[in-house]
Symmetry: C3
Subunit: 201 residues, 3 copies
């Protein structure tokens, strides 16, 4: 297993846990918890694969994703009392997923010979769309549209990936560095409550 | 026409009526009623076809679906006073559609040589996603996430289909038996108000 | 550049501006404004391309769309005070996009040798689905389901296109005439507050 594939599964697990915690916050039944965890984890990658006509869609071609999500949901359910400070845990797992999926999406764009702008879009979309579906299904305005700099962290990490990709650096190193970059940017943003400038007076 | 195709059209009609009743409950105009009926009826199958890259999408390749939906909507509009106990009718048609589409989706998964777990997912997704779109467009949290055992009925029927499929049983018989199974499970669940155990205290 | 391609970009700009105004009305941050503008502008065409398996999806294969949206959003932000009568501007740009995208979608259906009914559906879907996504993401019931005759204008324009297409008329002329038809029908409908007859007492 490559680091790339390992990261993909780790991001899947992180988003599945984030989705499960979110659904438990909403008092959904066990099945609802699993479904929300599932769409949060695979939603972004599925849209990405449908857009670039990559067939079969990732989780259909490799059942490992399904197993990882299943185990992650069970863990989230069992440990839900230990992690009683739910919103912080949700934030943490969401951020890890965000970092990993941004780089996965960008790399798939590069491998498919897409224009850098499209590759960055694919990275961002892979990372954020699962959360958008989760929020939309739960009848909330997706976080991405009104909360702190979120997608911006993806763009910064994605562009960094493209730049490092031009240099002669070890592939695994690039994956890890740029993933960490997204995570760190997001942590800093939230820590210091940074916001994009708005233009409403 | 095979029983399989007949069932598919019957499920389409059932979901179209369910969608139309739902939209009339919301006092939508005639066009809104038709569109909601349409997405309820074809939404699940369309997502399924896009996911497994089946082209063209079912209702684009065979106009019979469109005609069936059109007639079903007209009928629902004409008979809306006769079926004044709206919520019960909505429930009934929704359940019939659920049973049929579960088996259709599962069979398409099997025919595409997909893993049994993916086939079951396709069955459930074909059966439930139209309703998810209907609810999301109407700004409600989809039924599937918070109401009684719904998708669970699909899973039971779908797994039964896979088991019977291994035996040497007449194809039409399998279709009818497993479809009925989903319907009966759902009726029992609602009749006796069965719920999945939850883990909230 | 053909008139067809020019119209496509014009429709994209109109919907991007409409989406940006909508998002600014909701006080979204600059990134949210861009994303809502983007999905409003490309949402309908993207769904259309995924449904008929047209690959790559329009905006991925031709970056001009992305640039046009970017410029349109910048313009909408800069001019937001000039166009302080926001709802009227939103309506105007939305209507222009509606007219153009209806004809684009219909023509792509015809070029793909799809049945006239499916071509009309594609036209309507191309024109309306971006707005449906915009509204759904913003947690509103899509306009199309409860407001004045909206999709009906698309259908009228789309059918007119199909009829003129049978005659020996200049292609560019057909595009412009039928696009204007959708726009005029919508303006008349709103001016005189026309509504579809409803059947609720």
């Amino acid at each position: 297993m490559t680091i790339f594939h390992f990261l993909d599964l780790l991001g899947t697990a992180a988003f599945a846990i984030s989705g499960a915690l979110f659904a438990m916050n909403k008092k959904m039944d066990p099945f609802g918890v699993f479904i929300i965890a599932f769409v949060t984890a695979v939603g972004g990658g599925t849209l990405r694969d449908m857009l670039i006509d990559r067939s079969p869609v990732a989780w259909m071609g490799d059942l490992t994703y399904v197993y990882v999500i299943f185990i992650a949901v069970i863990l989230a359910i069992i440990l839900r009392k230990k992690i009683s400070y739910l919103s912080k845990s949700l934030f943490l797992f969401d951020t890890i997923g965000l970092g990993i999926f941004t780089i996965i999406g960008t790399e798939i764009g590069v491998q498919s010979n897409l224009h850098p702008i499209i590759s960055v879009s694919l990275g961002m979309l892979t990372a954020t769309f699962g959360g958008v579906i989760r929020d939309t299904l739960s009848n909330e305005v997706p976080l991405i549209f009104h909360k702190e700099i979120y997608a911006t962290a993806c763009i910064i990490g994605s562009v960094t990936y493209l730049l490092l990709n031009e240099l002669n650096i070890d592939r695994n190193m690039i994956h890890i560095l740029t993933t960490l970059m997204v995570i760190v940017v997001r942590l800093i943003v939230v820590k210091f409550k940074l916001k994009l400038p708005t233009f409403y007076s």
